[in-house]
């Protein structure tokens, strides 16, 4: 099962990289942009007997290694083939 994991800094944790990116965007004229926060994005394949089992394992990995609960939050999406196809369609339409 293809899984996407999003790791973000908790509110209140300084994000100097996000701030620097925000300043760059402002310099480029995107002055409407505020509160840029930079995070991490991981993709992985996981074999599991069920979706629930995969979720359980991924939560464990995130708690143990992938995210640091002191400074980071995480969320993840498990895509089945069908779901990922649906997930990508609206985006493709918008582009047309």
């Amino acid at each position: 099962m293809r899984t996407k994991i999003f790791i973000s800094l908790k509110n209140g944790v300084l994000d100097p990289q996000g701030k620097a990116i925000e300043r760059s965007l402002h310099t480029l004229g995107y002055t409407e942009v505020q509160e840029v926060r930079m995070g991490k994005y991981l993709e992985l394949d996981i074999e599991a007997p069920s979706r629930a089992a995969a979720e359980h394992r991924i939560r464990e990995m995130c708690d143990k290694l992938l995210a640091n609960p002191v400074i980071e939050d995480y969320r993840f999406e498990i895509e089945s083939d069908a779901l990922s196809a649906i997930g990508h369609q609206p985006e493709a339409k918008e582009r047309d």
């Binding site: 800094l9 209140g12 944790v13 300084l14 994000d15 100097p16 990289q17 620097a20 290694l65 992938l66 640091n68 002191v70 400074i71």
Partner: protein, 236 residues
């Protein structure tokens, strides 16, 4: 006194700690490879600075799972002295032996400079030989040394007097301008509640002879040695 210096792939200050303890202080030191189980008798374990596992994912995140860390956690939980310097401090936070975390410096730059530090508490093995409020000159060299803890944890740190070192200006005040990396409350070093585990971003091992511009680092190591000596006498 028997010291163990743990070497992870990417550690680079292990040799400096070794030299400081052995050459400058005449201590018994052994370097310990991270893949081995912790074996032998030690009075203090040092986790040195560097870039363990290339700082991949987060600084210290992977070193935490090195085989030797099981023994280090056990050693710390049973009251053994553990000192984490720079990357060692990051590893101890990731391991949960120390509260909080170290994140990217507020100015985004890697900082390499001499800083002034104030010793805030002296009822620990690491600072007992130094007077309260005394200033130390030690170098820092890090990109991710900004100390962070949530408000509740910070409150607990203050209440339990776990903040052992703060960045200060020439007058000894923890002013915002003296804060090199954006650390909360100018925190440069903290200990655990039991006061036997200490982590700090500055490098005492790089301030161990006049040739290096400061000998103040020796005061921390000597403090630990004196604490151990006093314990030996008590048991004798």
């Amino acid at each position: 006194m028997r010291w163990g210096v743990i070497v992870f792939p990417g550690s680079c200050d292990d040799q400096d700690v070794f030299n400081c303890l052995k050459r400058e202080m005449g201590q018994k030191v052994k370097r310990l490879w991270h893949k081995d189980e912790l074996a032998g008798q030690f009075d203090c374990l040092v986790l040195p600075g560097g870039f363990s596992y290339g700082d991949y994912l987060r600084c210290g995140a992977m070193a935490r799972f090195s085989p030797i860390m099981r023994g280090v956690v056990k050693f710390a939980r049973s009251g053994g002295l553990v000192l984490g310097i720079c990357n060692g401090f990051q590893i101890l936070c990731e391991t949960g032996l120390l509260p909080g975390a170290l994140v990217r410096n507020v100015g985004l730059q890697f900082i390499c400079q001499q800083v002034s530090l104030r010793v805030e508490e002296t009822d620990t093995a690491f600072t007992r030989g130094i007077g309260k409020g005394q200033l130390l000159r030690l170098p820092i060299k890090h990109g991710e040394g900004c100390y962070y803890a949530d408000p509740l944890t910070l409150e607990r740190l203050r209440k339990n007097r776990q903040i052992l070192l703060r960045y200060v200006d020439a007058k000894g005040k923890p002013s915002p301008s003296a804060n090199p990396n954006g650390s909360l409350d100018n925190i440069a070093g903290v200990c655990n509640e039991a006061r036997n585990v200490f982590g700090l971003m500055p490098h005492p091992e790089d301030a161990c002879s006049k040739l290096l511009g400061s000998e103040d680092g020796l005061r921390i190591f000597s403090s630990i040695a004196a604490h151990h000596g006093a314990g030996e006498k008590r048991h004798a």
